[in-house]
């Protein structure tokens, strides 16, 4: 009998190529996702050393961070010169090194973390890496998914392995069920609020419990997506029938006998009874409220029913950080969160740019008009966009006054022209509220798609549950 193992232990064990005496491991990588911003220097490194991509068939590239999301983006003039150069470099690198590629013109193009699962590249039990910290998203499938730096991108391209030391095991259990109006985004933000942005440093988190099991695959991706915001190296969720159903029939998922063999293996992917956890955090699903962030760190989370805190509510280095945040955000302690007026609403990103997110927002927006200056929906992929059009969601957004965009990262990090102006306040479904993240001086409040839609309707931060009772 082997000792009981966690899901992380099992995936890790199945991918160790070599272990050095000091415990440093060479880990085999099953899928390597690549985008235009963190890869050019890596491909350049390969060229300079005359190295090849070891497993081009396991390497998938898509431009997403820089690309314009306006409808006229086929026109090169919509891009700045340096963005154009970066995307052109990815086109060339994909061609030269023979890797799988979804160019901007392909309907399957989108945010790398949405495209991977959608195309069936991401499957349970795999190791997945990408030069992007939100790679944790893929953990929703019970795969071990790490964000890596550009030197590591080059290392994986050349060797299909990653040098890693094993992290510690952390269990985050969400018991019971969520209340109406509470979503996966509220779970993941509440966990970070409880643990802090460094609470997961050195750990791999497994999310479990009834509330997690009850989430769709889309919701699970939202939860795992923000594991990095809690400092964790990766977040994962054991695969189950929902996972298998999502994967079945995807273009790169196995078929026939291989599918049967895969499912049999996937069913062994769970944490054994009695496995060792280095840290356990438990939240009650019933206690989680719709939340928003008030500051400039994702740990600055409060239920929408709360008030803006004062620096003196904190201790240590956080006192100064909170004072700086409040100043940057232009907020006064004691103010009700629902009194915060919003200029702009952004719905999209790898956290909340999937079909279910658009459905949740559209549900609130149906038959209503926005009161904010501008609002945009940026679907996570061309296929999400197409599906939303088919379901009539696009029309709901347009009728409400939203801009209906093409797929990309867009205002999540504002590398493309979609940016906030100094002082402009945004209700965003993305994952980072750092200073300047959405544009220099821009003020970001993170929340779920339904909450962002509610803010769009009222023009201020709003408890979505109030709008839900109105429609009920």
């Amino acid at each position: 009998m082997t000792a009981p193992r966690t899901l992380y232990d099992k995936i890790w064990d199945d991918h160790v190529v070599h272990q050095a005496e000091d415990g440093t491991c060479l880990l085999y990588i099953d899928r390597h996702l690549v985008h235009e911003v963190t890869s050019p220097q890596a491909f350049e490194g390969l060229r300079m050393t005359g190295r090849k991509v070891r497993a081009p068939e396991k390497t998938i590239a898509v431009p997403d961070h820089n690309v314009p999301t306006t409808l006229d983006r086929a026109n090169a003039a919509t891009m700045t010169e340096d963005s154009r150069v970066q995307v052109a470099a990815l086109d060339k690198n994909a061609r030269d090194f023979g890797i799988n590629y979804y160019p901007v013109s392909d309907v399957r193009q989108g945010i790398v973390h949405i495209v991977g699962p959608e195309q069936g590249w991401t499957l349970p039990g795999m190791t997945v890496v990408c030069g992007d910290s939100h790679t944790a998203t893929h953990g929703a499938f019970g795969s071990l998914a790490h964000g890596i730096g550009t030197s590591e991108v080059e290392h994986v391209l050349a060797t299909q392995t990653l040098i890693q030391r094993k992290g510690k095991n952390m269990k985050v259990e969400i018991t019971g069920s969520l209340r109406p109006g509470v979503t996966a985004k509220d779970i993941t933000l509440s966990v970070i609020g409880a643990t802090g942005t460094a609470g997961g440093t050195g750990y791999v988190i497994e999310y479990c419990g009834q509330a997690i099991r009850e989430l769709s695959m889309e919701g699970r991706m939202t939860v795992c997506n923000m594991a990095i915001e809690g400092g964790a190296r990766a977040g994962l969720i054991a695969p189950d029938e929902k996972t298998f159903a999502y994967c079945m029939g995807r273009p790169h998922a196995p078929k026939g006998a291989k599918w049967e063999a895969a499912v049999a293996y996937w069913k062994t992917l769970f944490s054994d009874e009695g496995a060792h956890w280095d840290k356990v955090v438990t939240l009650r699903g019933e206690d989680i409220a719709p939340v928003v962030t008030w500051g400039t760190s994702p740990e600055d989370v409060l239920p929408i029913t709360g008030t803006v805190p004062a620096p003196t509510d904190f201790t240590g280095g956080k006192v100064d950080a909170a004072a700086r945040s409040l100043d940057y955000m232009g907020l006064t302690p004691g103010m009700k969160l629902t009194d915060i007026a919003i200029d702009t609403v952004f719905i999209g990103s790898c956290t909340n740019g999937r079909i279910e997110d658009l459905r949740a927002a559209a549900e609130i927006l149906k038959g209503r008009k926005i009161k904010v200056k501008r609002a945009m929906v940026v679907p996570g992929s061309g296929l999400v966009r197409a599906q939303a059009e088919e379901e009539g969601l696009a029309q709901i957004f347009i009728d409400a006054g939203f801009e209906w965009r093409l797929a990309g990262c867009s205002m999540c990090l504002a590398m493309n022209p979609d940016q906030l102006q100094p002082g402009e306040r945004c209700a965003a479904t993305s994952n980072r509220n750092f200073e300047g993240r959405q544009g220099r001086g821009g003020r970001t409040h993170l929340m779920s798609p339904a909450m962002a839609a509610a803010a769009a309707i009222t023009g201020h931060l709003t408890d979505v549950r109030e709008l839900m009772t109105e429609t009920a």
Partner: protein
């Protein structure tokens, strides 16, 4: 990659907690396809006004710290994105060592790949080093990687931990890829085995 053995230099105090990679190098500078040249935009939005003027209060703009080679930072330095542009920008500015109570994982990793030594120290020690750094340009700290010590300008010495593999690579300026390719046979046999165990992968 440049070797790192010992370093004696000016340390800049940056006590703010959660200094994220968006602060270290804002996204508008990520459009480069090169590694070099980012130093002038290190901490760009804290360092310059919107129209490009230096903000005199910012630590690296102060005469005493313009040639700092070490940063003493608040908790959780380097959190946020995986952008290796963050260590590239630090290195290009001339920073070779960052000392804090904690670092974000990916940033920590990225430092070693670029010849930067990130050192984790307990709060009490960071407090002492922070006070030393506040003395300005005449106070030079020494970091000795072989001995795994940091010594303040007045001679107080503190030990630190570092992974032996990373230490070896840093001290010798070794490229990970070259080292891994020496294990190509192990990768080949892993792939052969995985092809039968998990043929769908």
């Amino acid at each position: 990659m440049d070797k790192f053995t010992t370093l004696t230099g000016i340390a800049a105090p940056m006590p703010l907690v959660n200094i994220d990679t968006d602060m270290i190098i804002p996204k508008q500078f990520l459009k480069t396809i090169q590694r070099s040249g980012l130093g002038k935009n290190l901490f760009d939005e804290m360092r310059y006004t919107q129209d490009g003027q230096e903000i005199p209060d910012f630590v690296l703009n102060q005469p005493a710290y313009r040639s700092a080679e070490i940063i003493i930072a608040g908790d959780n330095f380097g959190c946020g994105s995986s952008r290796e542009h963050a260590p590239w920008a630090l290195l290009d500015f001339g920073i070779r060592c960052v000392i804090s109570t904690s670092f974000a994982d990916i940033f920590y990793n990225n430092c070693f790949k670029n010849g930067i030594l990130p050192i984790v120290m307990p709060q009490e020690v960071v407090d002492v080093l922070m006070a030393d750094a506040r003395k300005g340009a005449n106070a030079r700290m020494t970091v000795d990687l072989a001995a795994q010590t940091v010594t303040t300008s007045d001679g107080q010495s503190f030990g630190f931990e570092v992974d032996s593999h990373r230490k070896h690579c840093l001290m010798n300026g070794l490229d990970d890829i070259g080292l891994t390719l020496e294990k190509a046979a192990a990768i080949d046999s892993f792939e052969a085995k995985a092809a039968t165990l998990r043929p769908w992968a």
